[in-house]
């Protein structure tokens, strides 16, 4: 019962902050709502007894990446109204169609994928998964999911090299 209430409150917060992110006129405020959104997502992870994921969510997204967003937003000084930005070549219908496809996929996963909550979080409280969360994630990452893990790190390396080349034309 308590878990259900906590889940719905956090879910409502996540959706509410997400709406505020895209509807606020002031860019800095939008970034701040994004931080709150990430913090609420971290709370959701805690509810699912995934403490490691929650802490990493705060550390990497809320505390790392969004700080850099804020940096950029503050430096470019977006004081103009959004109307001035309207681009003639923008295709709102394309974006709408793509997000509809994503929504349909998510709904399909929800209906046929059996993505319901596998176990009640209350019973997970003192299991091995909850107590040795970090060890279990480490073991999985370096055994079953080794290839995806390495591919993801390669992707980050490529992104890093790309960023350096773009920033420094002449090395």
């Amino acid at each position: 019962m308590g878990n259900a209430i906590a889940f719905y409150v956090t879910a409502a917060l996540i959706l509410g902050f997400a709406l505020l992110v895209i509807s606020t006129k002031n860019t800095v405020h939008a970034v701040l709502f994004l931080v709150l959104n990430f913090l609420a997502v971290a709370a959701l992870y805690v509810l699912l007894t995934a403490q490691f994921l929650a802490v990493i969510q705060v550390l990497v997204y809320a505390g790392g990446i969004v700080v850099l967003y804020l940096f950029v937003v503050m430096l470019v000084n977006l004081k103009r109204q959004p109307e001035d930005h309207s681009a003639p070549q923008r295709r709102p219908w394309l974006g709408f169609g793509l997000s509809a496809v994503v929504l349909a996929q998510l709904a399909a996963i929800l209906v046929w994928g059996g993505a319901g909550m596998p176990v009640d979080p209350q019973t997970m409280q003192n299991t091995d998964l909850a107590v040795n969360n970090v060890e279990r994630i480490g073991m999985l990452l370096y055994t079953d999911y080794l290839i995806p893990f390495e591919v993801a790190s390669m992707l980050l390396l490529v992104a890093m090299v790309g960023a350096i080349i773009l920033a420094k034309r002449e090395l």
């Binding site: 403490q51 802490v55 705060v58 550390l59 505390g63 790392g64 503050m74």
Partner: protein, 339 residues
């Protein structure tokens, strides 16, 4: 009922109040220590030897006019000091002050909670504190605070990388992220981790000075260049919150350094047999003593060293601390495989 609600609430109340009192008296201690270094007396008027000075300061700050600049972003301007203060205080949730004590027929652990990701929790909560500084400078709508906050946040992000890399090598040595288990690992090894990871300790301390914006890295409040710093436009209690958060962060860094490197609540040199007579001293006294030594070093450094130049600071962070931290991780890994 008592175990789930009453005891944690009492502990939270106690830790919060103790921290806030500690913070106010840190301000007095800093003024006194710096005065002694400079052969002055420091505050002497309020109370015996100036011991009631923090109370006078608090009354003054509360009674001062609280000004919000007209062109400032009101909400963000108000939120910024709060965002700085909250992470500094909630970090204490996972710091173990001592082993369990037996009170009123119950075993009460002397920390608010022990989570299995304790150290990462501290790092991630500390990373949220950066927002207060960035936003405080931005919301003031004034150029010097903006410049100062950009500087400060660039500094904090850079040194956060170095400190986190440093902690990785310590985690490898301890084999756990839980703050209590890190102390227990030092207990069973009969060795403080400062002797196992001396490089990590030095890196952590330098990074800690930079993370708390203390001298010689107090770039965020270089008065000569920035007419104050990111809090130039703040007055009254909101300024006080920024000020107190800095001291709270100092206490956090000292407490974390004590837990990680100086064996937390353990007595000194647990491997030396003839020092066993020290066992009668309760663990929390050792913890407070070690934390106090760190805090004193913070003040000592401030009184001794001049401020770094900004480019020197960045060079030190990116070209010295981070490579050394990564080399330390590699060396720790090799040692761990070999022995």
């Amino acid at each position: 009922m008592i175990d789930t609600y009453v005891i944690p609430l009492v502990k939270i109340l106690f830790v919060l109040n103790a921290t806030l009192i500690g913070v106010t008296y840190m301000v007095l201690l800093e003024r006194k220590v710096i005065a002694w270094v400079q052969v002055r007396l420091g505050p002497m008027r309020v109370g015996p030897y100036g011991s009631l000075q923090p109370i006078a300061d608090a009354i003054k700050l509360i009674l001062k006019e609280d000004i919000t600049p007209t062109r400032a972003d009101k909400w963000v301007f108000t939120a910024a000091p709060i965002i700085v203060m909250v992470p500094a205080l909630i970090t204490f949730a996972v710091i173990p002050f001592g082993p369990s004590v037996h009170l009123f027929g119950r075993d009460i652990p002397l920390q608010i909670t022990d989570v299995n990701v304790g150290l990462l929790y501290i790092v991630s909560v500390a990373s949220i504190g950066v927002y207060g500084i960035i936003l405080g400078g931005w919301a003031s709508n004034s150029k010097f605070p903006l410049l100062a906050s950009l500087r400060a946040s660039a500094q904090l992000i850079s040194y956060e990388v170095a400190v986190t890399m440093t902690l990785v090598s310590l985690i490898m040595t301890a084999g756990t992220l839980s703050m209590v288990k890190i102390v227990e690992a030092q207990d069973s090894a009969h060795l403080w981790f400062i002797f196992v990871q001396p490089v990590a300790f030095v890196l952590f301390f330098i990074g800690g000075l930079a993370e708390t914006n203390r001298a010689p890295f107090d770039m965020a409040e270089a008065e000569q260049e920035l007419t104050g710093g990111f809090h130039t436009e703040y007055s009254g209690m909101r300024f006080a919150l920024f000020f107190l958060a800095e001291y709270a962060n100092m206490i956090v860094v000292s407490a974390v350094a004590t837990t990680l490197f100086l064996g937390g609540w353990l007595a000194p040199f647990p491997n030396v047999a003839w020092l066993n007579f020290l066992d009668f001293v309760p663990g929390w006294i050792w913890f407070l003593l070690k934390t106090f030594i760190f805090l004193y070093i913070f003040l000592w450094v401030r009184a001794t060293l001049p401020r770094y130049r900004y480019d020197q600071l960045m060079r030190l962070g990116w070209k010295v601390l981070i490579p050394v931290a990564i080399a330390n991780v590699v060396a720790t890994g090799i040692m761990k495989v070999l022995f």
